[in-house]
Symmetry: C2
Subunit: 158 residues, 2 copies
């Protein structure tokens, strides 16, 4: 019951805290998004380390992505990713039809512009987790209808 609530509430306090002090210029906003992304990155690194402690070695990239969609997502958001698609050339799209960190926001269109700051932390989370598994990536997110959300992962070949 309400298992994800402490994380959710703490996350929203963090956003308030980081964005409150801003003069809300565009540069400042971009800087806040970056801060949130970096914090997510570090949390993702820590989490994946703990989660993969006792797992067997991953077969391939797709195997890693499936772990992110199932185990990792469930640990953080208490649900799995609803849909995973890939072009088999290093692009993955993770779709969450009811993304927990957006579910507190109203679905009105006027709130869509608020969405990026609610997604930045999670983009970092995924990037950090992948990074610790040896996969370098760029992660972006988009919302078309709240609270559904798509995360696009572009693997950077080394």
């Amino acid at each position: 019951m309400a298992d994800e609530a402490p994380f959710q509430f703490l996350h929203s306090e963090l956003i308030q805290y980081i964005t409150k002090s801003a003069e809300s210029g565009d540069t400042e906003n971009a800087r806040n998004i970056t801060k949130l992304e970096i914090m997510g990155f570090r949390v993702g690194q820590g989490l994946i380390e703990r989660l993969t402690k006792d797992t067997v070695r991953f077969k391939d990239e797709l195997d890693i992505m499936k772990f992110i969609c199932k185990d990792f997502w469930t640990c953080v958001f208490k649900k799995q990713i609803d849909n995973l698609r890939t072009n088999h050339q290093g692009i993955y799209v993770l779709q969450d039809n009811k993304f927990r960190l957006l579910s507190q926001l109203s679905a009105g269109k006027q709130y869509l512009e608020q969405a990026p700051k609610y997604l930045a932390f999670t983009c970092g989370l995924v990037r950090g987790a992948l990074s610790n598994l040896g996969v370098k990536s760029i992660v972006t997110a988009e919302v078309s209808v709240m609270p559904a959300c798509k995360f696009q992962v572009m693997i950077q070949k080394m």
Copy 2:
């Protein structure tokens, strides 16, 4: 499995973020502790609202404190408070023998001075929860041996 980890990692990022920018003067430190306490207060208010949505009315103050020690603590820290004592005159001591937000710190004495910033958020959490149940309080914390921790709640009679 690792259910409390996302909250734990996020909490420790928050502390890093808030204290990093400080010039680490005493005033600045005190201000950071206050910020953490206030954020905890708001998270506590939100959480208790969700947790008590379907519960019956509390009999008395002690009944409320028991709820904090069991349901509330389990929701946030995935364990109960280990010991609750009271002088029956408005002072309660909640002891957690393995407090999750300290369990990442080493137990060496030199880290004891770091403890306050790891406790401030939780003091606020308890104060916020009680406040939403109509109980005004002052909450302080002390650590003697890590990671055990005592929270003292002083009820403010109105």
